[in-house]
Amino acid sequence: MRKWIRSSALIAVLVGGASLLTGCWDRLEIEERGTILGIAIDPVNDEPPKNITGPHARGVGYRISAQIAIPGRIPLGPTAGGGGKTEQPVWILSATGKTVDDAMERLQEDLADRIFIGQMRIIIVNEQIARTTGMLALQDYFRRNAETRRLIWMIISHGDAKQVLQASPKLERVPTLYLVGTMEHAVTLGKIPNVFLGNYWSTLSSFGREPILPFITGEDNRIYLDGLALFHGDKMVGTLNTLQVAPYMELTNQKQAGYGYSVPLPDEPNQSATLKGTIRHTIIKLKMKQNKPFFDIYVIINGNVHELTSSRHQLSSTLMEKLSIESAQFLQDGQVKFIKRMKRLGIDPIGLGEYVRAQYPVYWSHIETRNRWDQVFAKDATIRLHNTFNVVRSGLAPH
């Protein structure tokens, strides 16, 4: 009896194992995948988009351009092959469709290999789409696909997104990787906050904070990082240029400071000193006064003197103190301007609403949604700024 059970079990396992051997369902060689490195999404302007997923596909229509790596064009190892230097290592394909999935299906029709977005590092969205149709419908496809990385960049482009994708700078063989490098270096330099896709999704889901995305322009073979795109929910409502990003960074407690700015030298209006922050720390305190939120924002920045245009001034501790006070004032002006603009736009990218939700849940239970918080933020919220700037180093010896 026991033997019979044993042998039958063995046979069952063997048969099962053999049947497993017949199917390698997911096996797909790396060179047989249509490895998409980056995607650009543009609106369809002229002809109406055709759909292939059936007549019920609804959507404004997108033109998706994908940058696909061509295996074999990028040689292994550090030395490039002699002959094929002029050949592009990537291939850019475009397809239109009513929805993102629709367009991706079209793309698949053009491409023999199966599309693989596990290596996709960047999604560039045309500003026009972000401003009109919004991001919700657009990001859903990527969010559902388990292949999508959470640590990739979603970027809003000023003008044609495909052009950004096509821009091929000379520094890097693969254009997308150059773009990714640009973004990553901007983060480490403190130029923009680290808003990767997963981060964007989290912010998009939360009610007390408006998402932001990097804003970029591409021209021929150059790429400019223009600042940040501001959103109200999933719709883009404005931009911050590079100078305006600094107050945003200061108010959202981004530790890495990277912006330099000039202040006039004391007693010498025609000369200026340039300073650059190194490390900052922001504390936001919330109180409720007469059922209205009341924020105290303390920004503490350490910075260095980078340049003095006048040699008359010997750097001394009094001068450093004066520079500190002046810088703090300068920064505060920028922040005040920033907050005023945000209130005018009726959005809260700093995430003050999250503080209300976290610390006054009863009060928050009357708000509950993003729109209502934005109204409260624009009307009822009072924000007081307290800036401290410490000039720490001067580069040259003080006398």
Binding site: R2, I5, A9, V13, G16, L20, G23, W25, D26, G118, R143, A146, R149, R150, L151, G198, N199, W201, S202, S205, S206, F207, G351, E354, Y355, R357, A358, Q359, P361, S365
Partner: protein
């Protein structure tokens, strides 16, 4: 008095003289591993859906609740150091009632194993092997568990003990890697409950993750010192519980409540958010899915083992090995019953919340009867005196 009862029981059962090999640390580690299963991946979402930011607090409450149950199991084990839970259950409840409850328990663990297998099958098929049929992934997991469950109790303890670091270490690594992406604002308010019922449901749902704790009832009689089992259970449940709390805190801190509600398996997405910038590997989630196969395997193994031990007891079989083959097709079919992933999670929640009455209520019932019998006997002795 208990000694007397043990003696009588020894004469009753031929198998009651059990070899004693397991140590307290082994018990602690094996319980700590048995408790952690595939529920790890989805529980932040389920909990947050019930109680929002109070989820960590609810998790901690559930851990305390299960600790209490664990102490009861340990108490019973120390009172009947020669018997497994099913054996003293028979003694306390009588043959017939015991038989029914044990059959129910075995069937329930069968269902748990089936659901866990299916759940992980879905995880694998969704995140790693998109075009592999879910039947195949379910089958491989079941084969793993079925083969392992055929071993004797010491090997099962050793297996569970061995995988402890494999289960805990990756979770801790993920939490450490994603720590800087967390925001403590997402965790606040710590304890803001609007509906007490939803809190109860959340606590029950999380406690349902700990149901494999009854495997301790199978292990205690094989310990060198069954009277010290409470230490092992405290450490095991405490360790697993703190892992759940840590994971809850990490996912909530990184994603916030609203985002968690959107994500099917928040723990897995936490792994997607983690990156090792200097390392060769860019994405960690396939690795974690792979390593979590161990966690899922140990969870399924524990349920499977509980189930076949219970059935072997009900059918009066000396050896549980043959049961493991008979059950295999049953469990396979049961795991394929849920129609889709939404259906699966509805079933998981319902089964969890109601099953908790069975699994957690059973030791409570046994302790009550045990105490009652004890008091009655004392009275009888007094009367005789």
């Amino acid at each position: 008095m208990t000694d007397q009862r043990n003696n009588s029981s020894q004469s009753m059962k031929q198998e009651s003289e059990k070899p004693k090999e397991a140590s307290v640390i082994q018990l602690a580690m094996s319980i700590g591993t048995a408790i952690i299963g595939v529920g790890l991946l989805a529980f932040p979402r389920i909990t947050v859906n019930y109680v929002m930011t109070a989820a960590p607090a609810a998790t901690a409450m559930a851990v305390l609740f299960v600790l209490g149950i664990g102490i009861l199991v340990a108490y019973l084990g120390s009172q009947y150091p020669q018997l497994t839970m099913f054996e003293y259950g028979d003694q306390l409840l009588g043959k017939w009632v015991g038989c029914i409850i044990h059959a129910l328990l075995s069937f329930y663990y069968l269902e748990l194993a089936a659901l866990a297998t299916r759940e992980f099958g879905e995880v694998v098929v969704t995140s790693v092997l998109q075009r592999t049929p879910v039947e195949v992934t379910v089958l491989t997991m079941l084969i793993l568990a079925a083969i392992a469950s055929r071993n004797n109790v010491f090997v099962v303890i050793r297996i569970l003990t061995y995988y402890m670091p494999w289960v805990y270490f990756p979770v801790i690594v993920i939490v450490l890697l994603t720590l800087k992406g967390g925001n403590e604002l997402n965790l606040q308010p710590w304890f803001h409950i609007t509906h007490p019922m939803s809190l109860l449901k959340a606590v029950l749902t999380i406690s349902a993750l700990f149901q494999n704790i009854l495997i301790a009832g199978m292990f205690i009689p094989y310990m060198i010192h069954p009277e010290r089992a409470w230490k092992g259970i405290l450490i095991g449940v405490g360790g697993a519980g703190s892992l759940y709390v840590i994971l809850m805190l990490a996912t909530l801190g990184v994603f916030g409540t609203e985002e968690i509600k959107h994500i099917l398996w928040p723990t897995l997405d936490l792994a997607k958010t983690a990156s090792l910038p200097v390392f060769f590997i860019e994405r960690l989630d396939p690795i974690f899915v792979a390593v979590w196969v161990t966690a899922v395997f140990t969870g399924i193994l524990s349920s499977y083992y509980c189930s076949i031990r219970g059935m072997a007891h009900v059918f009066q079989l000396y050896d549980h090995r043959s049961m493991s083959i008979f059950i295999f097709p049953v469990i396979f079919v049961m795991s394929l019953l849920p129609k889709n992933i939404a259906n699966l999670y509805t079933i998981v929640e319902i089964v969890g919340q109601f099953g908790i009455i069975l699994t957690m209520g059973y030791p409570v019932l046994l302790v009550l009867i045990h105490l009652l019998k004890k008091v009655l006997k004392k009275k009888k002795v007094l009367r005789h005196a």
